[in-house]
């Protein structure tokens, strides 16, 4: 009798699926790390203008966001097509900006309250009048550091 008996049939043994959970976990962790939570649902069109002399806004906990632009298509019936300001999740008027900035500032840690930047994410098609009004409101509440958030690109892309 041969010691190396040929196994019957040509079938391979079933493959262990024990490592499957590891793989799934790994993918899970990857997405957990790489995902950026979006805190605001955009209700305005937001095609940012392009610029190349820009600085990064690195620390997210030091930034207050203000969005502005034309309401998105599904809100146009209700809110019209004139550019509007969006604060958090709702459309706002210019006079709300000051209160919003103060409220946001109050939620930040005390040592950060003096170094906050207000990021203006404004659609390229907006008139400067609205932005000037926002800037006046920001000056009233002494939120003087602003950042015109842009896309990275040459200015010729704006035409």
């Amino acid at each position: 009798m041969s010691k190396f008996k040929k196994k019957k049939g040509g079938e391979l043994p079933a493959i262990s699926t024990a490592s499957l959970p590891d793989i799934v976990f790994m993918l899970l962790f990857f997405f957990m790390v790489a995902t950026v939570m979006r805190d605001n649902t955009l209700m305005v069109t937001n095609t940012l203008p392009a610029a190349d002399q820009i600085k990064k806004l690195d620390k997210k906990d030091r930034v207050i966001y203000i969005y502005a632009g034309k309401p998105s298509a599904r809100y146009q019936d209700k809110y019209g097509d004139q550019p509007r300001i969006q604060l958090n999740d709702k459309f706002s008027v210019v006079s709300d900006v000051g209160a919003y900035v103060l409220a946001e500032r109050a939620t930040k840690r005390e040592e950060l309250q003096n170094v906050l930047t207000t990021a203006l994410k404004v659609d390229g098609e907006t008139n400067m009048g609205l932005i000037s009004d926002i800037k006046q409101e920001l000056r009233k509440v002494n939120a003087l550091k602003i950042n015109y958030t842009t896309r990275i690109g040459d200015y010729t892309q704006n035409y």
Binding site: G10, E11, L12, A14, I15, S16, T17, S19, L20, D22, I23, M26, L27, F30, A34, V36, P49, A51, D52, Q53, I54, K55, K56, L57, D58, K59, V63, T117, A119, L120, K121, V122, D123, G124, E125, T126, N127, M128, G129, I131, S132, K135, Q136, L138, R139, K140, N142, A143, L144, K145, I146, N147, Y148, T149, T150, I152, Y155, N158
Partner: protein, 207 residues
């Protein structure tokens, strides 16, 4: 009865998953916002505004038709950067106000020195935001161009431009030691070409 097909070996699945994981880890950049930083003037009215000589002010107006008027003359956006550089780097001052590092034309009717030179940007309420940002971008570029030039002239050993050095400085991954070395150098340049860009309140022009 149909022949049983052999099961596929899935033992290398983990390796494939690892590969994918590493690939994505390396290539993904978590999106960070970037833009042009500006500082608004405080609300308090200046009671006694300093008198600034006309030649030290470079007026840029963007009107409601998105035309760019530099020193009251219509100009293409392409030429704004160059015109601003020429104005800032003019160095027409004499005596105490002389500018020994300026390479401009020393024109008597343009700015005395970069410390005195002010760019005043004015817009209409109906100006498009994207045009305004383009002009802002070009004006900041003019400052950066001059700072780059002087930075490379003073600190050739750094082997980078002012903008690159500033990027390294503001990167949170840079070690405190490198930051401490860069900070005074950047400050020198900021003092040589201070960014005096005033954003006037918009007008409701009729033209």
């Amino acid at each position: 009865m149909a022949r049983k097909s052999p099961e596929v070996n899935a033992g290398s699945m983990a390796d494939i998953a690892f590969l994918l994981l590493i690939f994505f880890l390396v290539t993904t950049t978590i999106e960070t916002d970037s833009g042009i930083n500006r500082k608004l003037p405080p609300m308090e009215e200046v009671i006694d505004p300093p008198i600034i000589k006309e030649r030290n002010i470079f007026t840029v107006v963007v009107n409601k038709n998105n035309d760019i008027l530099v020193e009251e003359k219509l100009m293409d956006l392409r030429d704004v950067r160059e015109a601003a550089v020429k104005f800032l780097d003019n160095g027409g001052g004499i005596g105490e106000e002389a500018c020994d590092y300026c390479k401009g034309e020393k024109d008597k009717s343009s700015s005395d020195n970069p410390d005195k030179a002010i760019i005043s940007l004015k817009n209409d309420r109906e100006t498009d935001y994207k045009v305004y940002i383009s002009v802002q971008n070009e004006l900041v570029a003019a400052y950066n161009q001059l700072r780059d030039r002087e930075f490379m002239a003073i600190y050739p050993n750094e082997r980078m431009t002012y903008v690159e050095a500033d990027k390294v400085y503001s990167d949170p991954r840079t070690s405190p030691k490198v930051k401490a070395l860069l900070k005074p150098k950047l400050a020198v340049l900021k003092k040589m070409y201070p960014q005096k860009l005033s954003e006037a309140e918009p007008s409701k022009t009729n033209n």
